[in-house]
Every structure is written in C-alpha cells, then in structure tokens.
C-alpha cells in the first residue's frame, strides 16, 4: 500500500478498449468502482490476483498494465 510505488496504465487501456467505464471494469474483475478509481490514482496497489485479472480483461501482459517504480 505504499503510495505511487506501482504505476499503471489502466486509464489508457480502458479508453483503448472501447472507452470502458470504471464500473464496467470493476464488474468484470469483481471489485468496487472505488477500488478501480484508487488503482488508477496509484493510491492503492492491487493483489497479484487482481492485477492478473485486470491484465486478462485487457488481453495484455501484467507489465503492460503495472510498472514497479524504485
């Protein structure tokens, strides 16, 4: 839960995938819309399972969605 440690491209990927809304993505991965919002703002780092689910929805690899910043 360290702030800004895990960056992500969720917002970009949502728009590249038919302008998917946060609510739609949340429903697909089984979390609340607020969690997707917190993820996009890099305020919350997801579990490995959730990270894989999100990458799977967009059909890309994990590192295309999430990047660890030293």
């Amino acid at each position: 839960m360290k702030d800004k440690k895990v960056a992500n491209n969720i917002r970009t990927l949502r728009f590249q995938n038919g302008e998917m809304t946060q609510a739609e993505l949340a429903e697909k991965v089984g979390v609340t819309r607020q969690t997707i919002n917190a993820l996009e703002a890099a305020k919350y780092s997801p579990s490995l399972e959730l990270a894989f689910k999100i990458a799977h929805v967009f059909g890309v690899g994990l590192e295309e969605v999430f990047q660890y910043q030293d």
Binding site: M1, D3, A23, A26, E27, G30, V31, T32, R33, Q34, T35, A38, K43, Y44, P46, S47, L50
Partner: protein, 143 residues
C-alpha cells in the same frame, strides 16, 4: 463513496450517539445545564435514527451488479480492527493495572467501585469501535 465507507460513517455516527446517550443517562450534565441536556439527548437520538435509516436504506437498495466488499475494503477493515485492538488492549491493561494497584498497594485509584469499573469498560468498548471506524474512514479518504 463505497457502501463499506458509508457503513463506516453510519457506524461511527451511531457509536458517537450511543456514547453520548450513555454518558447523559448515566452521569448527566450539571443541574444548570438541564435544558441543554434534553436538547442534546434529542439530537443524539436523531443522529442514531438517521444512521440506522441510512444503513437499512443502503442494505435494501442493492445493486446486483455491484460488489459489496472487495480486497481493498478488507485491507482497510483490517487496519481499523488492528488499531481498535491496540486501543482496547492498552485500555484494558490500564484498568487491570488500576485494580491491581488498589488490591496490592492500597493505592486509591479512580476506579472506586464495581459500577465505575463497568462504566469504564463499556466506554472503552464503544471508544474502540469509534477508533476502528475512524481508522477505516481515514484510509478510505487516503486511498
């Protein structure tokens, strides 16, 4: 605001109302503040009722597409319970220390009767609930 955050707010409000109501019923205010005491009781009861209605309303208005609780909620709940546990452990240890001091060293503690001990434990219990919910709200706002 997620459902769990709303529950945290309603629970915090009802805990504060219960604590205030308990304090007023058991100890009351000085006699010169008697008029305020009735108004305060009424306000606390309304706060409790409002929190209860909101909680029931949220429960009824379920969106079947929306997830009730996810990993972020559980993480935040865990932080709340951890802080509440620390508070409760310190408070109970303090109460036990007072009782032991009284029995061993005849030290005059502020816990002078079984009734005051019960009051202190009830207040501690409600305060730990307030600590739990306040921590949760803090983390909901932070992350």
């Amino acid at each position: 605001m997620s459902k769990q955050e709303i529950y945290a707010w309603t629970s915090l409000l009802s805990s504060i109302a219960i604590l205030g109501f308990y304090g007023l019923t058991m100890f009351g205010l000085p006699s010169e503040w008697a008029a305020i005491e009735n108004q305060l009781s009424s306000v606390l009861f309304k706060i409790f009722l409002f929190a209860l209605i909101v909680e029931v309303g949220i429960g009824i208005l379920k969106n079947k597409h929306e997830v009730e609780k996810d990993e972020r909620d559980e993480k935040i709940a865990g932080k709340g319970f951890k802080n509440a546990y620390y508070f409760l452990a310190i408070a109970v240890s303090f109460v036990l220390f007072q009782v032991i001091m009284d029995n061993i060293f005849s030290y005059a503690p502020f816990i002078y009767s079984t009734l005051s001990l019960i009051h202190l434990l009830v207040v501690t219990l409600v305060l730990s609930s307030i600590v739990n919910r306040t921590t949760q709200i803090y983390f909901y706002r932070k992350m």
